[in-house]
């Protein structure tokens, strides 16, 4: 005990210091550590959340860009398709029109040919008639002049033999 006293240790002071330290500890705990830790925790959570959100947003943006590209691609493809189809249809229509016209023309030609042939026949028939008439007329004229002598006789004979 004397040794402790020589070192300056005094029970009363020791207890007083102990109480002092205890008060300090509890005051600091209540007013400094807990609030500060809370603030630090909250800040950390906030930062964590912010980082996570940023990451999420980045991912979403990537996805959207991808989607956009896909949609654009699709639209492009569709447009080409439509154009191609239209071209095809036009071509088809044209071809159809051409064949139709050709057919019509050939039909018309046929009709014309037919008509021409008919006319020709008619003309030929008429010509035949005319030629027969002319032959008769010519025969009459020839007969008129040379109906005498033997011929006449012959003819008369022919006619009479038939009678």
């Amino acid at each position: 005990m004397e040794l402790l006293g020589n070192l300056g240790i005094n029970t009363k002071l020791f207890i007083a210091q102990l109480i002092n330290f205890a008060i300090l500890f509890f005051v600091l705990k209540k007013f400094a550590y807990q609030p500060i830790l809370k603030v630090l925790d909250e800040r950390k959570n906030k930062i964590d959340k912010g980082l996570k959100d940023a990451e999420k947003a980045g991912k979403k943006l990537e996805k959207i860009t991808e989607k956009e590209e896909k949609v654009l691609d699709k639209a492009n493809k569709k447009a080409t398709e439509i154009l191609l189809e239209a071209e095809n249809k036009i071509e088809e229509n044209r071809a159809k029109a051409v064949t139709e016209t050709e057919e019509e023309i050939s039909e018309l030609m046929k009709k014309a040919e037919q008509k021409i042939a008919e006319k020709k026949e008619q003309m030929l028939a008429e010509l035949k008639k005319d030629v027969a008439g002319l032959v008769v007329m010519a025969t009459e004229k020839v007969l008129d002049e040379k109906v005498d002598g033997e011929k006449d006789r012959e003819l008369i004979q022919k006619v009479t033999s038939k009678l």
Partner: protein, 254 residues
């Protein structure tokens, strides 16, 4: 007028007496430092309530984050860090402040004169509280008791007691028992090494500063002042870190 003798004393000087209670200079300093810390804590709390962090709060936050990382480095687990942190931080803050009282002007030189053993002796008002064994012993005791407490709550009383009281009839036999006894002694040794390390460092610093001031009052003491600021920081850090390590060791099962 005869110059009073300045004689650095091993024990804190009693500057006043209230009833039966001796008020020593180091006790006065402790009270002032405690008041400063408490006021700081209250201001901090008010600042946090206000929302926007002020400069003061930022500094405190920086210090606390550094300390938290330090404690995390030792415990390696956040939950334990939260358990250990209040005591470690309190020890660090309190010790560093009472150490730095050393460099306050007037330390050891401003005080009341008294006739002591026929000599005029100066009783200084300011004495670093860490140069008082009462204070260092209190902190050491708190640290060691707290480490026992942490050990018991973490391991359970039986398992924790098993560290110290080993039956001589089990596997390592008497070696185990002997090691257990050594462990008990080492716990007491911790108290002594804690308190005397801090006391010795700071008391030596005080003596050094006073002597330097006596020899050459101008400029020469400056490097020593910086040295003492550094020593004060290191001692506070050592005290806090050792407390932390002892608590961590106490919570580890063998």
């Amino acid at each position: 007028m005869e110059q009073a003798l300045i004689k650095p004393s091993f024990t804190p000087e009693v500057v006043a007496q209230i009833g039966n209670f001796p008020i020593t200079n180091s006790f006065l300093v402790t009270l002032v430092i405690s008041a400063v810390i408490i006021i700081g804590a209250l201001l901090l709390k008010r600042g946090i309530k206000n929302g926007k962090p002020s400069g003061f709060q930022n500094i405190i936050e920086m210090v606390f984050e550094g300390l938290l990382d330090l404690v995390d480095g030792v415990t390696g687990n956040r939950e334990q860090t939260r358990r250990f942190f209040p005591l470690v931080a309190t020890i660090f803050i309190f010790v560093i402040l009472i150490n730095w009282v050393e460099v306050v002007p007037g330390l050891g030189t401003v005080g009341v004169e008294e006739i002591h053993h026929g000599e005029k002796v100066l009783l200084p008002f300011i004495r670093s509280a860490a140069a008082d064994l009462n204070v260092t012993l209190v902190i050491a005791l708190v640290a060691v008791v707290a480490s026992q407490f942490m050990g018991i709550t973490a391991l359970g009383f039986k398992k924790y007691a098993g560290k110290f009281l080993v039956s001589p009839f089990k596997k390592p036999y008497f070696v185990g028992t002997f090691v257990g006894i050594l462990e008990i002694i080492s716990e007491f040794a911790k108290i002594i090494s804690f308190s005397f390390r801090l006391f010795g460092n700071i008391f030596a610093g005080e003596v050094l500063l006073t002597v330097m001031l006596m020899l050459v009052p101008l400029f020469i003491p400056l490097p020593f002042l910086f040295l003492e600021i550094f020593v004060g920081f290191i001692q506070a850090l050592v005290f806090a870190m050792l407390t932390l390590v002892f608590m961590k060791m106490a919570t580890e099962a063998h």
